[in-house]
């Protein structure tokens, strides 16, 4: 029951966390006014001149920007689609494997990359894809010509997408594996009696059972279509592959903190976070409506 004294405790418990959230999440939001200014650090936010939407106009007129937006969307969408597909396939295969110890062993291996940072993985992949790396050794063993993968505009996007799928497919499969443990085993037994083969059982029992989970995860990932993965791209790209690999987040970093164009970078960042916020809100709404999912 409601109790005034208890409520006071609750407020007090929330206070420290709220102070941090206000300081490091809410206060920076006020900095967004810089996006509508020609911000000059010496003059501060209150002294700098307001320029309305000039920063955004400049952004939309920039040919680079459309390229960057396109890169971001292609990379992010490919990651979502391929990542989900492979996670589902992997989960189904794992579910078909009867040997518990074998399963354990495989799971131990596939979950590991998720916990490694992109800093570390970037070093590893630059070893692997380097001119003398094992991929090129393999190509040469089959009589092919070695390629500079990491600085090739043809290969950069596939590498970014592929390595991200590689890192996350195991981890993403966890949720589907969990959904499969909830399937009533008698369904499979009934199918056995009816003479259904493995493929039929997957198609008519396993996949329909995890379909709601797939739809839910797909819906929630709508909020990520502008998140192409800053940590990954930042650690793997170079000026030679800006054309195909530069994404909004890396562009904001370079414009804002390397080229010190505070207002412009804030405007680009705002463009992204406003759209992402809208998409995320929509995703949560859809997930609530169709899957009965609520974050709280």
């Amino acid at each position: 029951m409601y109790n005034k004294k208890n409520a006071r405790y609750y407020h007090a418990m929330l206070l420290p966390g709220m102070i941090f959230l206000i300081t490091f999440s809410i206060i920076p939001m006020f900095g967004i006014v810089m996006a509508f200014q020609n911000f000059i650090p010496a003059k501060g936010i209150f002294g700098s001149k307001f320029v309305g939407l000039a920063q955004f106009q400049r952004l939309f007129r920039l040919p680079d920007f459309w390229q960057i937006l396109q890169n971001t969307l292609i990379i992010a969408l490919s990651k979502i689609i391929l990542g989900t597909l492979l996670a589902v396939v992997f989960a189904v295969l794992l579910n078909e494997c009867q040997n518990v110890r074998y399963k354990r062993f495989i799971q131990t291996a596939v979950y590991l990359p998720h916990f490694l940072s992109w800093v570390i993985l970037a070093v590893m992949f630059s070893n692997i894809f380097s001119y003398t790396g094992i991929i090129n050794q393999l190509i040469m063993a089959f009589g092919g010509e070695p390629t500079m993968f990491m600085i090739s505009n043809t290969w950069f996007r596939p590498i970014i997408i592929g390595t991200d799928v590689w890192k996350e497919f195991g981890y993403n499969a966890v949720i589907y594996v969990a959904a499969m443990t909830g399937i009533d085993p008698t369904l499979y037994e009934a199918a056995d009696i009816d003479g259904a083969g493995r493929w039929k059982k997957i198609l008519h029992i396993t996949l329909p059972a995890i379909l709601p989970t797939i739809i839910l995860m797909g819906t929630l990932s709508i909020g990520n279509v502008l998140n192409a993965g800053f940590d990954q791209v930042f650690n793997m790209y170079s000026p030679l592959v800006y054309r195909t690999g530069d994404i909004i987040d890396t562009y904001v970093y370079r414009e804002g903190l390397v080229n010190i164009q505070y207002s412009f970078a804030t405007a680009v960042g705002l463009f992204k976070s406003a759209i992402s916020f809208g998409l995320l809100a929509m995703a949560y709404k859809l997930a609530d409506k169709f899957c009965g999912y609520r974050i709280f």
């Binding site: 418990m13 959230l21 006020f30 291996a109 940072s117 993985l121 790396g133 590689w166 085993p185 970078a265």
Partner: protein, 301 residues
């Protein structure tokens, strides 16, 4: 994973079983290939590595990269900074997560402002001021070049708070009511009933916090200027100067090719291997707990 209630009949291995096992093995191995390759390179001599003779087994086994690493002060120093960061940042994360998750797990009937707080917390998760404004706030607060810049902005791990809140919701309300009747305060109930009952979930979010702090590199790059305070991942990131866009912008493609060939493969690989060790040490525990973590976090009743 729960064992199924119906005992499985021993089936004969069919061709499709073998094919599935083979595909799974392929998935497992492919996840280990980059790691094994890097470990092998780190134990090989420089020339073999540079010429691409190393695949999954060290060529001309040597510990020289590791010896050189031990002699380099920066690596050890950065390693210790990262350890300190994990302990300090992780503790702050845990205390704040516990303190926030408990009141948020109350029903709106018991705590009227719950809805407001919840929306607030979720809003901060969904929207942010962006890179530049956040950077300027941290600079304004004089946190630049201190460890606080690495632990305070991420003091409240919102995802972990929601995870723990969902765990707390599952604790039977009767326990709490009985304690209230005995005159216990919410503070007492949190630390003497909820926390001891949630050891597994606390382990989950503690491990998440450790991994996040250990793996962060970007905040170190933004906020730390002195080498003596540089966390490990930021330091390793700075080594791969061949990939550093600010430096590469001024180079010609030929120069970049040269630089790529010259970079000390073995030395960097050794550093990467050692920086992975803490994650590998906690990995068995992680694996035990994170499954529950994701499942509860993502799909709940």
């Amino acid at each position: 994973m729960k064992p199924t209630s119906v005992p499985k009949k021993k089936r004969k291995l069919t061709l499709s079983d073998i094919m599935i096992a083979a595909v799974l093995l392929f998935c497992g191995l492919i996840c280990l290939v980059p790691i094994l390759n890097t470990v092998a390179i780190s134990f090989s001599d420089r020339t073999s590595a540079a010429l691409g003779r190393v695949s999954f087994w060290p060529v001309n086994f040597t510990l020289s990269s590791y010896k050189a690493m031990m002699e380099e002060r920066q690596f050890g120093q950065s390693f210790m900074i990262s350890v300190a960061r994990v302990i300090l940042g992780g503790s702050i994360n845990m205390v704040l997560s516990i303190l926030m998750a408990y009141p948020l797990s109350k029903s709106p009937r018991m705590f009227r402002s719950k809805k407001f707080y919840m929306w607030f917390v979720v809003f901060t998760m969904m929207f942010n001021g962006g890179l530049v404004p956040t950077f300027m706030v941290i600079r304004q607060l004089q946190l630049m070049d201190t460890i606080w810049a690495l632990v305070l902005p991420t003091a409240v791990p919102v995802f972990n708070v929601i995870l723990l809140m969902n765990f707390f919701k599952n604790i039977p309300a009767a326990l709490e009511e009985a304690a209230f009747v005995d005159g216990a305060s919410p503070w007492y109930i949190l630390w003497h009933i909820f926390v001891p009952l949630s050891k597994a979930s606390l382990a989950t979010i503690a491990l998440f916090a450790v991994v996040t702090h250990w793996n962060s590199f970007f905040d170190g790059k933004l906020y730390i200027n002195s080498l003596s305070k540089l966390p490990l991942q930021t330091y390793i990131q700075s080594l791969s100067a061949t990939l550093d866009p600010t430096q590469m912008a001024t180079m010609s493609p030929e120069e970049i090719k040269e630089k790529l060939a010259m970079s000390s493969l073995t030395f960097n690989s050794a550093k990467v291997v050692v920086s992975m060790v803490p994650i590998l040490i906690i990995y068995p525990f992680l694996q035990k707990y994170f499954v529950t973590g994701i499942v509860v976090g993502a799909v709940k009743e």
